[in-house]
């Protein structure tokens, strides 16, 4: 067998992990093959319904539509849909892969992105799924929402009572699934939000074991949801038919009465967990991989016994859509590095020394140091600004890493590939030119004052140091309280449990007192089980008022209203050391950092908006990235993955920037003669794409521009020209007597393409809804349209941040004109995966 060129890469599975890998690889000299059993790309995410209420809930499902389109269009990606692999032969050059479509592929690397299967809830007979029609799984609820069929059950009820039952098929050692599936709490919270949006009178109860409120998006919608949904700790294991056969019965604990009580619901939704893909054994056989005890292939790099085979996404470990995409990119990035794949055209990775791009890592603590090391280790010239380099005995001495520990960064200007970072250090003013910027700032850890002044409880960091250095010297008993002053942080919770084990092993009595135990990552449940098994006492409380702390002669005395024992038995815990992990909060200087980077904060004040178009690590500015717990709830492993992901993005970016010739024409340009130098465009460009030239004139940098046209829609001097979307073009675009639908090319347009539109509707694809100001809406009507409808992304889902809001504003302005109302000009938002919804909305026109 001969060497093939370009080298082949086989991706098994066309879900989000596989597509993300393909997308990155498509910029490099590789022949990429996706083999997918189904006739379509997208996997589970591709079938997932949009969860947006008034705003996007950041699930990421809609992104799969665009990814699929990209994979179909990409030159060097070959799709084999509806295809199975018959055989894989390993030989000295790689693998020979026989497909059931008669083709045989020669590849160097294989990425297994074979996904997962939802837990088969019929395995738990007491839920009577399939038998009681109003017991469904989250997967089925999703299908109904997606097909707009949720009325099947709920239509009858003006105020339906709905129960969500968590952890069905997860966290259950008996059925061989002693892991948390990571996604089902989020899914149920999103589903509950969506149902409340559709049925505002609905009464929703979520029965959970430990609600996994982890991550910025989840904290955000949890906080909004907690007032309107009943959250009950304790997961029912049985659903009973009601005497009338209409309602469902669920028996739960009535703490007040110290007895059980039966509650009635119209519908029960089982939040089913993730199991290994049904075809897992087949995959294992083909690839000669051995699954772990749960059936996942938890080998991310090339496992020693199977070099050149990589596993990505949920085939490796349960995760959500965004993390699976990230995993796909990470793996693709490793493949690129291993095979030394050349970018499709000359790039910044050129072999000459001066071409190695520089990456600036901005930060103020250990995370930035870790990121900088990883960046340097990957062959980039790295600059660590604002934080000292931490010693790391496990890592090699970094090459190509410059450190300015005292740098105070005051400027990040320019665009991807061409940033200027200005900083002062020791009185000097310095400028650094770099291709990309990573912001890895530390959040603020707010110590919890339990009310005893100087004798307050110690933070988990202090405890950690004690437990690691000399656990024998700890007092005889240690109590740790989680969730005491707000949501627990997953990283701190995990370290505290590990430290608790150290204390226990050293013979101490340890109490873990929690409201909800975070069991993130596949092994989180096993850690929690081990903690209990080792004899650490686990106490559960309902809210902070249920814990009374007093100072005693040799420590603290806690009286805990323990939630799982009778109310008349508050539990008394005496401890020599009281540990309360700090609250991880936005640092007070984050607003400054956000201004510096020209980025928004999230609702809690952390860096980076939760917008799914840029998550997990990107920003609205190409080349500006976020890493670490200053922007999201991350632990050390996440930080590493984020950094690798950023490096993958930088790889892709350098390909884009160096594509032969000048960067693609964004289709917008500033007409210097007409420009009033008001700098409106400079201020509002969400992507930081407007730069000031030597004459201090605003200028659009094609490498950074996303062609959203916001600048054009807002320029008071009409100084911005567009090739395709000039004001006058709108009159010509509109067909006579048609309802013209101006649809965002990334959301509504993709969905409408799948929905067959009524005859009377003419669809026009626009780069972003923000182009649709009142002027162009009127132009279209003047051009003969009978009606103008603008459709953009859901609030919070716009790649350019506020496109939909801008368009909605334009519509409101139009309505102020006499004769203009909803029947002439209107706006709605939709996601790329909402074909059914778009069809319904437009069928009414």
């Amino acid at each position: 067998m001969t060497e093939t060129h370009p080298p082949g890469v086989l991706i098994i599975g066309g879900g989000v992990a596989g597509m993300a890998a393909a997308r990155l690889l498509s910029g490099f000299e590789a022949a990429v093959h996706i083999v997918e059993k189904q006739e379509r790309l997208g996997g589970h995410a591709g079938r997932w319904a949009c969860m947006a209420t008034d705003a996007c809930l950041q699930c990421g499902a809609c992104l799969s539509m665009e990814m699929a389109d990209h994979a179909i269009a990409a030159d060097r990606v070959t799709l084999h849909l509806g295809t199975r692999i018959l055989k894989i032969h390993r030989n000295e050059n790689g693998f020979a892969v026989d497909l059931d479509n008669g083709l045989s592929l020669l590849v160097k690397k294989i990425i297994a992105a074979t996904g997962f299967s939802p837990f088969d809830a019929t395995r738990i007979s007491s839920y009577h799924i399939g038998e009681f029609p109003n017991v469904i799984t989250t997967a089925e609820l999703n299908d109904r929402l997606k097909g707009e069929r949720s009325d099947d059950i709920l239509g009858k009820h003006p105020a339906p009572e709905i129960a969500f039952i968590q952890c069905v098929g997860s966290r259950n050692r008996k059925i061989g699934a002693d892991y948390c599936s990571q996604v089902c709490c989020k899914i149920s919270m999103r589903h509950a939000s969506k149902l409340l949006h559709l049925y505002p009178e609905a009464k929703i109860t979520i029965f959970y074991m430990d609600l996994q409120v982890i991550g910025k998006e989840v904290r955000d919608f949890y906080d909004r949801l907690s007032g309107s949904v009943e959250l009950v700790q304790g997961v029912p294991a049985e659903i009973l038919a009601d005497e009338q056969g209409e309602k469902l019965g669920i028996v739960t604990e009535d703490r007040g009465k110290r007895a059980r009580k039966a509650r009635r619901f119209d519908m029960a939704v089982l939040s089913v967990g993730m199991r290994p893909a049904e075809a897992m054994e087949e995959t294992a056989g083909l690839l000669d991989l051995s699954p772990n005890s749960w059936g996942f292939f938890n080998t991310s790099g090339a496992p020693p016994h199977a070099p050149d085979i990589h596993v990505a996404g949920c085939a490796r470990t349960p995760g959500d859509i965004l993390s699976s995409m990230q995993d796909g990119r990470l793996v693709a990035s490793r493949v690129i590095r291993d095979l030394e794949l050349a970018p499709v055209s000359n790039d910044l990775h050129g072999d000459s020394e001066k071409n190695v791009p520089a990456v600036a890592v901005l930060g103020d603590g250990p995370q930035a140091s870790r990121v900088a090391r990883l960046v340097a280790a990957d062959g980039y010239r790295a600059w660590l600004l604002g934080a000292p380099l931490q010693a790391d005995p496990a890592a090699d001495e970094p090459v190509g890493l410059s450190v300015e520990p005292n740098a105070d960064v005051y400027e990040v200007s320019g665009t991807a590939g061409n940033f200027t970072v200005g900083y002062t250090a020791g009185g000097r003013r310095e400028r650094l030119f770099c291709a990309a910027v990573i912001a890895a700032f530390e959040p603020h850890h707010a110590g919890i004052d339990a009310g005893f002044g100087s004798e307050k409880a110690v933070s988990s960091e202090v405890f950690s140091a004690m437990a690691k250095e000399n656990p024998e010297n700890l007092p005889d008993s240690v109590a740790i309280i989680f969730d005491y002053a707000g949501h627990e942080n997953k990283a701190l919770a995990r370290t505290a449990l590990e430290d608790a084990l150290r204390a226990k092993v050293a013979g101490k009595t340890v109490y873990v007192i929690a409201r909800k135990m975070l069991v993130h990552k596949a092994d989180g449940q096993r850690l929690f089980d081990r903690v209990k098994k080792e004899g650490i006492y686990f106490l559960r409380y309902e809210d902070a008022s249920g814990i009374n702390i007093e100072k005693t002669a040799d420590g603290f005395g806690l009286t805990v209203a323990e939630a799982t024992i009778p109310t008349d038995h508050p539990v008394r815990v005496e401890c020599g050391l009281l540990v309360i992990p700090p609250q991880v909060m936005a640092s007070p200087d984050f607003p400054d950092k956000a201004r510096l980077l020209r980025q928004r904060l999230d609702r809690e004040g952390f860096l980076q908006s939760p917008n799914v178009r840029h998550r997990l690590t990107r920003s609205t500015r190409r080349g500006v990235f976020f890493a670490g717990s200053g922007h999201d709830e991350t632990d050390v492993d996440d930080l590493r993955a984020e950094t690798e992901d950023i490096l993958a993005h930088i790889r892709a970016l350098s390909v884009k920037m160096s594509a032969a010739g000048p960067p693609a024409d964004p289709g917008v340009a500033i007409n210097e003669r007409m420009c009033a130098k008001c700098l409106t465009c400079y201020r509002i460009c969400p992507h930081g794409a407007i730069v000031l030239n030597d004459k201090m004139m605003p200028q659009i940098d094609p490498a950074a521009c996303f062609s959203c046209h916001l600048c054009m829609a807002n320029c008071p001097a009409h100084a911005i020209d567009s090739e395709a979307f000039a004001n006058n073009a709108f009159a010509e675009m509109a067909k006579k007597d048609k309802t013209v639908l101006f649809a965002c090319e990334r959301s509504a347009y993709l969905a409408a393409e799948e929905a067959s539109l009524p005859e009377a509707v003419q669809m026009v694809s626009i780069p972003c809804a923000c182009r649709m100001n009142v002027d162009v809406m009127l132009k279209a009507l003047l051009g003969g349209a009978s009606r103008v409808i603008v459709a953009g992304c859901h609030d919070g889902n716009c790649r350019s941040m506020d496109g939909a809001r801008e368009a909605a504003l334009g519509v409101r302005q139009a309505h102020r004109i006499p004769g203009m109302d909803e029947s002439r000009v209107s706006f709605f938002s939709a996601a790329a995966n909402e074909a059914s919804r778009i069809r319904r909305i437009l069928s009414k026109t």
Binding site: V251, F528, A563, R572
Partner: protein, 412 residues
């Protein structure tokens, strides 16, 4: 209101927290699954709130022996393990509750009948106080009747017969109120054409040591069965239809006596099914020209894993088996388990704990139900009467005996 202190030295904690094994109360996830499964459902009764299974496990896990004993939950629990079936950590409720019942401080909660029964059983080998002389007298008389009935001088109900293949261990009621049942079982053995015997040393399949959770009593009672049986040199011990007796002597026996017995243990329905499958026993299902619902006794089904044998046998002896809903692993307890039926003062509680069972029997359709445990049999009968269900309650083995096609007279 008294503060509960987590007590590391708790006796209960030590008894029921078997570190390094897989059913370990301190591993409870507090998931709450068990709470939704209790046979009490939402029922309550003056002075009896019924168990909250999670509270039982959690109080035990924190060493709150006194609080648990005082909670009133210990003897409300039916030891049915409906809750255990769904526990993700396999925490076995009947073990936890029985350990708690075994505490000295819980002795006062044991019912008068239970105490008395245990005493007589230990003294005489029979809960009802049947003496050896009475036993001999009764059996000899029944045996004569049996020989006549069968019209075969070889047909007998023997006792203490060395070298017999089977030793039948009856329920105490079979030697008292319900002698006909013993004869009915005798017919089955007769038709199998195997040698069988009773034992005068131990006349009783029950083991109330199980209900009070006291290992020493359970062991003594078990040995009272095992040792004489071994002396007789039997091949198999055949248990009468008794749920807890089966669970103790079949599933727990090795643990209790610390060794394997020198014989096999089976139950009469299982044995009969074997012989029917071999073609030795033949039935005429038209004797019961109707369909019959089957009730899974908790001790035989969930706790011992026997679901199919009684159903298969039942299907051979009537027009077919009707399933109750829910059934098998999810079956509802009759409401009389855990020692309730052994306490004559529990009748009104049992009618409450059995309410769902009664509803289920009504909803099932046919006015006939059979089970494989004489305790369940009694409770179901009382439920049928109390709730005026008009359901006829039988046991599988007695129906088999009724439907048996037998060639009377010597050498068939």
């Amino acid at each position: 209101m008294e503060n509960a202190v987590i007590n590391k030295e708790s006796k209960l904690f030590k008894l029921s927290n078997r570190l390094m094994s897989d059913d370990n109360i301190s591993e409870c996830l507090t998931c709450g699954a068990c709470n939704s499964r209790c046979t009490w459902f939402d029922e309550q009764l003056e002075g009896h709130r019924g168990p909250l299974p999670r509270q039982i496990v959690r109080m035990a896990a924190m060493g709150m022996d006194r609080g648990l004993v005082d909670s009133g939950m210990l003897w409300d629990c039916l030891l049915c393990n409906r809750c255990t079936e769904v526990c993700p950590m396999d925490i076995t409720m009947d073990v936890v509750v029985r350990k708690a019942r075994s505490l000295d401080i819980a002795d006062g909660l044991i019912s008068h009948d239970m105490k008395k029964g245990i005493k007589t059983r230990l003294e005489l080998g029979d809960v009802n106080g049947l003496t050896k002389e009475e036993f001999v007298e009764t059996v000899e008389w029944v045996s004569e009747e049996f020989t006549d009935d069968m019209d075969d001088p070889e047909a007998e109900i023997a006792y203490d017969k060395k070298g017999a293949k089977f030793l039948y261990l009856p329920n105490p009621r079979e030697l008292g109120l319900n002698l006909l049942h013993l004869t009915a079982m005798g017919k089955l053995f007769y038709a199998m054409k195997e040698t069988w015997t009773l034992s005068s040393a131990h006349t009783d399949v029950t083991n109330w040591g199980y209900f009070v959770g006291k290992d020493d009593i359970m062991r003594k009672m078990a040995l009272m069965v095992v040792e004489p049986a071994e002396e007789l040199g039997i091949e198999a011990l055949v248990l009468s239809e008794c749920g807890h007796g089966y669970h103790v002597l079949k599933v727990l026996l090795e643990d209790i006596i610390g060794r394997k017995p020198k014989f096999e243990v089976t139950s009469i329905p299982e044995l009969v099914l074997d012989y029917a499958k071999k073609g030795v026993l033949k039935f005429d299902p038209s004797v019961h020209p109707y369909k019959t619902a089957y009730h899974d006794p908790c001790n035989i089904a969930r706790k011992s894993g026997v679901y199919d044998a009684p159903r298969e046998l039942l299907a051979m002896v009537c027009e077919g088996v009707v399933e109750l809903s829910p059934n098998r692993e999810d079956a509802l307890c009759c409401g009389g388990g855990g020692g309730m039926l052994q306490d004559s003062e529990s009748t009104n509680i049992r009618m409450v704990t059995g309410k769902r069972k009664a509803e289920q029997m009504k909803a099932a359709g046919p006015p006939n139900i059979a089970t494989a445990c004489l305790s369940c049999h009694r409770q179901l009968g009382e439920l049928s009467k109390h709730y005026e269900l008009g359901v006829r309650v039988d046991t599988v083995a007695s129906m088999a005996s009724e439907a048996l096609v037998i060639n009377t007279g010597a050498s068939g």
